[in-house]
């Protein structure tokens, strides 16, 4: 599990905080989405949690260990998938994983099996300098699983991947969650957060605005709509009707009875729309 209490961080070591007094808990086996636009404090928070930044104020417990007091052995239980493909390009895919496996004092995964899992089996013995951006991303993702982490930090894990590969990655994440891995997912992609996360936190300007499950957020902040398309001579018109507004409902009923539509879809508010509603900012 991950426990963060009253965490603050200032790069300038004054009152100009990049992260302001945030607190949250992620129980074992949960996928926790940490959502926010660039500069909101996502990376700062994650970097403190994985000890890339010093802990200035507050308390952080990773897998029940206070990171202010713990040794580097903690990293035997932690995996981190970075957004930036920071791998040794002169080494092959399998050499990269073998090297990282040798850094841990715990049983590790078979590098070739991991590469197969993320679709890099064929390129295992190819130097990473010849990999595409998507392949590098998958290699970084595979590397983060090498030590069978109990706590797994994922930073934009599907960034730059085609839909088919992204689906494989999402399935692996779900599988790890089912096996009890605690997952901290940092992203500004609301769709992936919606699909994967048990709970999400909205962070904006260094502060957490709310924490809840995507479903609860939609129920609490979302407004149900129906979207229809109609043909008007040569053009297609798209219209939205709120199911909470009486006038909209009456107008929709009339359209249905007259069969004056081509397509009809129910629409819930997206996490992005809720984020904008709560924080007043867009994610990208």
């Amino acid at each position: 599990m991950i426990k963060v209490k009253n965490l603050s961080h200032s790069y300038t070591k004054d009152d100009n905080f990049a992260v302001k007094n945030i607190s949250f808990e992620v129980p074992k086996g949960e996928i926790f989405g940490f959502l926010g636009p660039s500069g909101a404090g996502k990376s700062t928070t994650q970097n403190i949690l994985i000890k890339l930044l010093p802990l200035q104020k507050g308390k952080v417990f990773i897998d029940n260990e206070n990171i202010a007091k713990t040794s580097k052995e903690l990293f035997n239980r932690v995996g981190v998938s970075f957004e930036h493909p920071n791998i040794y390009k002169k080494l092959t895919g399998v050499e990269n994983l073998e090297f990282h496996a040798s850094m841990y004092n715990v049983p590790t995964e078979d590098p070739l099996a991991l590469l197969e899992m993320v679709g890099l089996g064929q390129a295992a013995n190819q130097r990473a300098e010849g990999y595409s951006k998507g392949m590098l991303q998958r290699l970084v993702f595979a590397r983060s699983m090498i030590n069978k982490p109990r706590i797994w930090f994922l930073d934009e894990p599907t960034s730059g991947l085609d839909p088919g590969t992204a689906a494989i990655i999402k399935e692996i994440i779900q599988e790890k969650k089912r096996n009890g891995t605690t997952i901290f997912l940092t992203t500004h992609n609301m769709q992936i957060a919606d699909e994967l996360c048990d709970r999400v936190a909205f962070i904006n300007e260094g502060e957490i605005n709310l924490i809840d499950s995507p479903r609860n957020l939609k129920l609490q902040y979302g407004e149900k709509f129906v979207k229809i398309t109609q043909r008007d001579d040569a053009s297609v018109i798209e219209r939205r009707f709120s199911l909470l507004d009486k006038a909209d409902k009456a107008q929709l009923k009339e359209i249905i009875e007259r069969n004056e539509f081509e397509t009809m879809h129910s629409q819930e508010a997206t996490l992005e729309e809720i984020f904008i509603k709560v924080t007043g900012r867009r994610l990208t």
């Binding site: 930036h84 080494l91 050499e95 850094m103 590397r143």
Partner: protein, 345 residues
């Protein structure tokens, strides 16, 4: 320990695939070619000659020659004054003339750095100066700095310590700094520091790799120029300790710089400073205290002694002590800077 071995293996793979081995061997072979075919086997440098004589010398010399000697601007009253003047001027020799068996007797006082050709030339010049009159049978050579003579070494081979010094000090400094700053630029350091691997293990692996390359380079240069001449063990010890401290210095600079670009300026400045003692090798008279304080100065003399003067180890131990001290100082600096700088890279 197994982690350190993995790190060293990784360094070798990466450096080999970045053609470091090819570059290092190429440089070593170029230096060998320069020593063998470009540097002349004989070199002549202007040397100041300090003179003194006893009053009896006047009786065995032509008065014109005697007058020429005593009126020479480098003529001094006593032998002690000659030695004092020589100690102030490394690029000088001394001559003390006395009389033996009714013939001028020559005592040549040398610094100890001079080769055979320079000594012979000096004796011939003095003989000419004295009007080519026969000297007493045995002239006497007195050496100021015992154990520093490399009289029998041809000039081109006598420069071998220089490329070894430059390779072990500069290669460690530059290449290792490039290795680390590239890791920072590619952010692979981040991936390392979130493993149980320690920063010191990462740094040690790089130092060990550079040590290997320094030994390889020095062995190629010495092997292809001097063969098995000299004390290889002493030479390799000096190369090894120098490679370690220069690697630590390079890593210290790389730790404190954010990128390769920002590391270049301090690296170039440090390299120029470390290379400065080369001037003293060719012109011993130019050895001001600030040059003698540099570690590469004592290393240069230590390597020369190790390779050419088997009878003495004074300069070797001086260089070794200095290098060992720097290993401790720069090693500690590397550890401290690495501990605080690499975490957030």
């Amino acid at each position: 320990m197994s982690r350190l071995i993995s790190l060293v293996k990784r360094e070798f793979k990466i450096t080999a695939r970045n053609h470091y081995l090819f570059i290092i061997l190429s440089i070593a072979l170029i230096l060998v070619a320069v020593i063998r075919f470009v540097v002349p086997a004989e070199m002549d440098f202007d040397t100041t000659l300090f003179l003194t004589s006893t009053s009896e010398v006047e009786t065995v010399l032509d008065s014109t020659n005697y007058q020429a000697i005593t009126e020479d601007s480098n003529y001094l009253q006593t032998r002690e004054e000659v030695i004092a003047a020589m100690l102030d001027n490394n690029n000088s020799m001394g001559v003390a003339l006395t009389v033996l068996n009714d013939k001028p007797h020559l005592e040549l006082i040398i610094q100890g750095f001079e080769n055979e050709q320079v000594i012979n030339l000096a004796i011939a010049s003095i003989q000419y100066y004295l009007g080519n009159i026969p000297l007493s049978n045995n002239y006497y050579i007195n050496t100021l700095h015992e154990g520093t003579s490399i009289a029998e070494i041809p000039a081109n081979l006598s420069v071998v310590p220089l490329p070894i010094m430059l390779e072990s000090a500069m290669m460690g400094l530059f290449l290792i700094a490039v290795m680390l700053t590239l890791e920072k630029d590619h952010r692979t350091i981040k991936a390392y520091v979130i493993t149980p691997g320690r920063v010191y293990e990462l740094l040690f692996a790089k130092v060990i790799t550079m040590l290997f390359y320094a030994f390889l380079s020095a062995s190629v240069i010495v092997g292809l120029t001097l063969g098995f001449r000299g004390n290889w063990l002493q030479m390799l010890i000096l190369v090894g300790t120098t490679s370690i401290w220069s690697s630590c210095l390079g890593l210290m600079i790389a730790n404190l710089c954010k990128s390769l670009t920002s590391a270049m300026m301090p690296l170039i400045i440090v390299s120029l400073v470390l290379a400065a003692p080369v001037m003293s090798y060719f012109a011993p008279m130019f050895a001001p205290s600030y040059l003698r304080m540099l570690p590469t100065y004592s290393l240069m003399l230590g390597l020369r002694e190790a390779l050419f003067i088997e009878s003495s180890s004074t300069l070797f131990y001086q260089a070794l002590n200095y290098s060992a001290l720097l290993v401790l100082v720069f090693g500690a600096g590397m550890m401290l800077s690495g501990r605080y700088a690499l975490k957030g890279s």
